[in-house]
């Protein structure tokens, strides 16, 4: 098959399209799992990786139990009222690895998630919200009567 000029132009156009898409990717929030953040062993190390200490915000509705009888199943729900929320993270300060979950929220999805997490011992639970590149947080303490990581 010979490559005609028309075919060649078509191919070039398709390639340009691909390039343009690739260039747009970094604008999207987190396109891959932040493995280093999940490996962090302290809140301080984790905050360094996330890009600083978040600002406490009253615009995050963070629901957690005050007392968890079973630390292996602690229901948490986070709703952000901060405009431009792109990521919601759940941190457990006293867990061996504080970062538990990261949720990436595109346009059209409400910035509200609920899940269940393990809390090893009585700890502060921190909801971190990334909105317009800034970090915000809300903190709640959960007392654990039975640890979430026992044998």
């Amino acid at each position: 098959m010979t490559t005609t000029r028309r075919r060649f132009l078509k191919l070039g156009g398709a390639m340009l399209g691909t390039l343009a898409t690739a260039a747009l990717w970094p604008l999207q929030a987190l396109a891959a799992r932040p493995d280093d953040a999940f490996r962090s062993k302290t809140l301080t190390d984790l905050e360094k990786l996330l890009g600083g200490k978040p600002t406490e915000s009253a615009d995050i509705d963070f629901k957690t139990p005050d007392i968890a009888e079973n630390g292996a199943v602690v229901p948490v729900s986070i709703e952000s009222n901060i405009p431009g929320t792109r990521e919601i993270m759940i941190l457990v300060e006293q867990n061996p690895n504080p970062l538990s979950a990261v949720f990436v929220i595109p346009d059209g999805t409400r910035p509200a998630v609920s899940t269940r997490i393990k809390v090893a011992q009585t700890s502060n639970l921190i909801a971190v919200v990334k909105a317009d590149g800034q970090l915000y947080s809300a903190t709640k303490e959960t007392k654990v009567t039975l640890g979430g990581c026992g044998g």
């Binding site: 199943v73 538990s100 990261v102 999805t109 899940t115 269940r116």
Partner: protein, 103 residues
């Protein structure tokens, strides 16, 4: 492989509420068995939810999400016959996808 994923999606007043219950051991890798040998990590690392072809939620998880993970969130929109799919992938490369059709 563990059991099936359960997904429920309900559209009301232009908002679709999604609830999923996945079936997974979610081993942290930090626990030891009764003989004191470490139990290797085995947990979901990535979750992707799509409404038709559009990604509506991406989640990255560590081992501290509870066993048989529960996830709930809401999407703006969603119409009858739209397809909602949830896919998870774990640290051993296993994955599972479940689809539901909106009513």
């Amino acid at each position: 492989m563990a059991g099936k994923m359960r997904v429920r999606a309900r559209t009301k007043n232009g908002i679709t509420e999604v609830k999923a219950l996945m079936s997974h051991p979610m081993e942290t890798g930090l626990r030891k068995d009764t003989d004191g040998n470490p139990i290797p990590a085995h947990h979901i690392t990535d979750v992707e939810v799509k409404l038709n072809d559009k990604v509506v939620l991406t989640a990255y998880w560590g081992g501290s999400v509870s066993q048989n993970p529960f996830l709930s969130f809401e999407i703006e929109g969603g119409e009858a016959d739209d397809t909602l799919s949830i896919m998870w992938k774990d640290n051993k490369g296993e994955s599972q996808t479940e689809q539901v059709t909106l009513k």
